[in-house]
Symmetry: C2
Subunit: 596 residues, 2 copies
């Protein structure tokens, strides 16, 4: 056997997450945007833009583009003390049974709080205001598949509801304790099931416990010369099981595939038993594909304990690229052709003009990452090339493969860009975009300090609806804000993924909530209007974030009434007593009526 | 809009299929292998090996390799006359309701017989013996989605069971009328819903009625410069809806994808209503993917009326290739590496030594297609290259793309083959393999004439199980036959598809049933033993044929008891009165017990 059994690995993440991560914002405690000496900088040493460097243009961008007064900062409320947390609703018998089964658990307030929310804007806004979400009653840490099987049995015996918890990066309200749940609610933290069980170089697969976090998985695989290549923006913190449960998509899906393409085998522990295939064949025809029922189940059907994933040898060569186009429409046509000709590099992303300018504002003082390195170059683009700085847009590229494959891809992509009026702005400009990927999520916390609410949302659509969705959603968001008396609005989009038959668009939306009575409510209303607009234009409810609790109202429209009925019938069969009571996807909606 | 609405097309297939197709064998009436003047030839002008050419080596191969006495031929029983058919069990009220709804129908015996079976060996063997299968009672031909919706309503009102019928090429018993069904059973022939409704060059999609037959679909698409590229071996006769219902796989899936990769949108008419997505986005995260419930549903949940498929521009260049390896094991390692390096041409197939020799036997007299053109070349391979003619094997290749892409692929594949001891045997040798693809299915009818039963079955497995499955199944089949006193056995395999994490193996199995009391039963027992062996070795229940009625016994092992329960819960929800009573997939098995 060429399998290496039980590859051990230890996680970057302590069992007590609070030792490393923020309690009321994104990511590491030591990493954040901050205003210091009249400039914004990013703290810590973890990311390429930190290391004490100033971002001299960012503050001016904030003040001029958003019209914000940055002289006043709004700091969050302090972290609760243990006595501030409501007591848990849990019986000693259940805790004793957990102990007897060897399953670690805690009822400490901070442990419970950390696992009672995800990272939607609403959830973080509430924490900053010291408004606690309804807390789970107990956190449990199973350490194996067998622990999970026992836990599900115990939950039945003790009438306890379970909410699976992976990396905690949900942006759909999926981790929120459902309203009106009278039972003890236990959060099942899978972080202690985080081993790579085996790596098979012949099959190019890795069998992993589902709690492993993206960066840990990559570290273990890369130490053996492999990669799974799955890099959602949350990849530093999100878990393998979470990827499966939400149908995650990674930035390099053109080479590695989305999570559904990577999945070879999965074990789901349900109240009805363990749902899993009897073989690890790459593809089969044995009725409806039940892997696809686990994918996207969002914690409603059971706990994913083990996943066998495809892996690839680490590619010998990675390079970046940057392209500039005179207009967004040219860029979209380029993206369409990239997909039509199957020229997709590992990643290709198209930023609109607003996002191009925003990227400029994140230049560091040293300028080593500068988009446009000199005034001369800028003048060349705007004057000699005739590009309007207020309409141009940028595409960033990431190539992976052998040196020869990368060179060939670069050549063909650049050749195609030229036919759409684009030209190369060099590797550094592209690289910078990808280096910033994992930092973008930290900006929201800074925005809060300036009384801005900001959030992202994404969708997918057929190619012929792409521009319509981009334009209509931006217009609609501005109109909805204007109708509510809010003028300081930032709405921008990027095309982040290309498929044979369509694209993915990611919107970033921010507004100043100064003077707004209920900013969260206003945000929700505007995002709902944007989502209505997306669906009206032919876009989807979500490309990869999922449904959770915040997008259920569009589920019937998305999957049809009989489709929703199938999802409920599946739930009813696998979990008749609603042990997995998170309430995602179909919530408590009444049975849809027959349409025939 | 760049959509061309309502592309009309007429099918090669008449509504009365019996005018063109055999009643008791494969394919066109005018196309068959036959013994004439002491040589086997293939009749008709439809295929490359017909046109009156003799296959001078084939008869000798049959006699020496299989040890058959070909001096006696066993001819099938004549086609039944109308009075031979049992009367239909159908009430006039239902027929009148169909007429009122404008839905064409027939109770003629031949119409019913044609739609009461598929093409498993058992089914054809029975027909040749003039043993009629249990017949459906009426055939209906809806002409639109709306007709199907009305038909499903009427079936409820009149207590009629429905069996969807596409191309009739099922090899799983899926079309057989289920035993003990007391209701009127109507076969829903979708052949009159066969239009390409629109082609969208921007999205590279085609919206089609689901009854369209493969060759019609390709003809219409190619007339507009496109292809869907889906070519299962049944593609001349099988339907788009059938592909979806069975999870079909095409020989060129490396470029175009399997049916699940091609599917952008599907409409399924169920007794609960029309199940379909509200958008045509290329990918979304909105809970479990319900397309994957339709894919593989095998007629148990409803009727597929419309499919939106991905299409591609017709590639400017197609070329073939042939490679020879000294041993099958070298060929399998080559196939593994082809997939690992993602060098897959549109198709790559590896034939074992037995199949290589069989291919040699199908050489025409003119030899234009000869595998090995001259004695000199043969001597070169066996003597100077040191290849043993009893162990060597052959891979055939099909490349599609631009001239440059094809040249590059050829170069890289050949380079890789060399590292596994392989060398090129020229384009003609590869081309011939693909030209014969659609003829192979006709051989079974000739075998019957010589008292041979022959059938194929397929599986998929992880790469590290590929050789084990090939070897173990061959050994097991020979042993099972030997145990039953049958010595004249032909068992051969080919690796037909490569995936990142595994492969597909297709077995061809034939034996002489002279002196065997119940040849069909014996075949079933041996195939069942082979399937047990496959599963024991880590292979799947089926890669693309499906489950139907003949592989249900392995379903629970394949999808787990909770998985089978989910399938049944889905069926129960969408079709509570079992209108779609074909009995495929889960049949009448009792509810599986909980495993926890």
């Amino acid at each position: 056997m060429d399998q290496k059994e039980r590859c051990q690995n230890s996680s970057f993440l302590p069992k007590r997450r609070q030792e490393l991560l923020k309690w009321n914002g994104w990511g590491y405690k030591d990493s954040k945007f901050m205003l210091k000496d009249s400039a914004i900088m990013f703290s810590g040493e973890r990311y390429p833009i930190g290391h004490g460097e100033r971002l001299p243009l960012f503050l001016r961008w904030v003040e001029t583009e958003l019209g914000l007064d940055t002289s006043v900062q709004y700091h969050p409320q302090p972290e609760p003390a243990e006595q501030d947390y409501p007591p848990p609703n849990v019986r000693q018998e259940f805790l004793a049974a957990l102990t007897a089964a060897g399953i670690s658990h805690s009822v400490a307030g901070d442990d419970r709080l950390w696992r009672s929310h995800g990272h939607t804007m609403h959830e973080i806004f509430a924490l900053r205001s010291a408004s606690l979400p309804p807390l789970v009653d107990v956190v449990v840490w199973p350490e194996s598949h067998e622990h999970v099987v026992r836990l599900v049995q115990l939950s039945g015996e003790h009438d306890v509801a379970l909410i699976p918890y992976g990396g905690g990066t949900s942006v759909t309200g999926a981790l929120l304790r459902p309203a009106g749940e009278p039972r003890t609610v236990a959060s099942v933290d899978t972080s202690q099931m985080a081993r790579v069980l085996s790596v098979c170089p012949t099959n190019l697969t890795a069998r992993c416990e589902a709690g492993i976090i993206g960066q840990d998985l990559e570290r273990v695989l890369q130490s053996q010369g492999f990669t799974c290549g799955h890099e959602p923006d949350s990849y530093e913190f999100s878990s393998l099981g979470g990827w499966v449960a939400t149908r995650a998509s990674g930035m390099k899906k053109n080479v590695y595939g989305n999570i559904e393409d990577l999945l070879v085998h999965v074990r789901l522990v349900t109240p009805r038993g363990v749902l899993e295939r009897g073989c690890r064949a790459p593809r089969l025809s044995a009725g409806p594909d039940l892997h696809q029922v686990v994918l996207g189940s969002e914690g409603t059907l059971g706990i994913i304990t083990e996943v066998t994933l495809k892996i690839r040898p680490v590619p010998p060569c990675r390079r970046y690229g940057g392209l500039m186009f005179p207009q967004f429409v040219c860029g979209v046509r380029f993206m369409r052709d990239v997909a039509a000709r199957r020229l997709q590099p590992a990643s290709v992303r198209l930023m609109d003009n607003e996002q191009f300018k925003f990227g400029q504002a994140l230049k560091t003082a040293s300028g080593s990452f500068g988009w446009i390195k000199s005034a001369l170059q800028k003048a060349y683009i705007t004057k000699w090339k005739g590009f309007d700085p207020d309409t141009l847009c940028i595409a960033t590229l990431m190539f992976e493969g052998t040196e020869q494959e990368v060179a060939e891809q670069e050549r063909r992509v650049l050749e195609l860009a030229t036919t759409h009026g684009g030209f190369s702005v060099g590797e550094e400009n592209g690289k910078r975009g990808y280096m910033l990927t994992f930092v973008i999520a930290y900006i929201r916390d800074l925005a809060f300090d300036f009384q801005m609410l900001s959030e992202s949302f994404e969708t997918s659509m057929p190619w012929d609806r792409c521009l319509t969705v981009c334009d209509s959603v931006k217009r609609r968001v501005r109109q909805e804000c204007s109708d509510r008396g809010v003028s300081s609005v930032f709405i921008t989009c990027r095309v982040t993924q290309t498929y044979d038959a369509g694209a993915v668009v990611y919107f970033y939306f921010a507004f100043c909530y100064k003077g707004v009575a209920d900013p969260v409510r206003m945000y929700e209303d505007v995002e709902a209007a944007a989502r209505d607009e997306i669906l009206r234009c032919g876009g989807s409810i979500s490309h990869h974030h999922g449904v959770g609790k915040i997008r259920q109202r569009w589920m019937e429209e998305t999957v049809s009434a009989p489709g929703l009925g199938v999802l409920r019938a599946t739930k009813q069969y696998l979990d008749p007593h609603n042990v997995f009571a998170c309430g995602n996807l179909y919530g408590q909606l009444p049975e849809p009526a027959s349409k025939l």
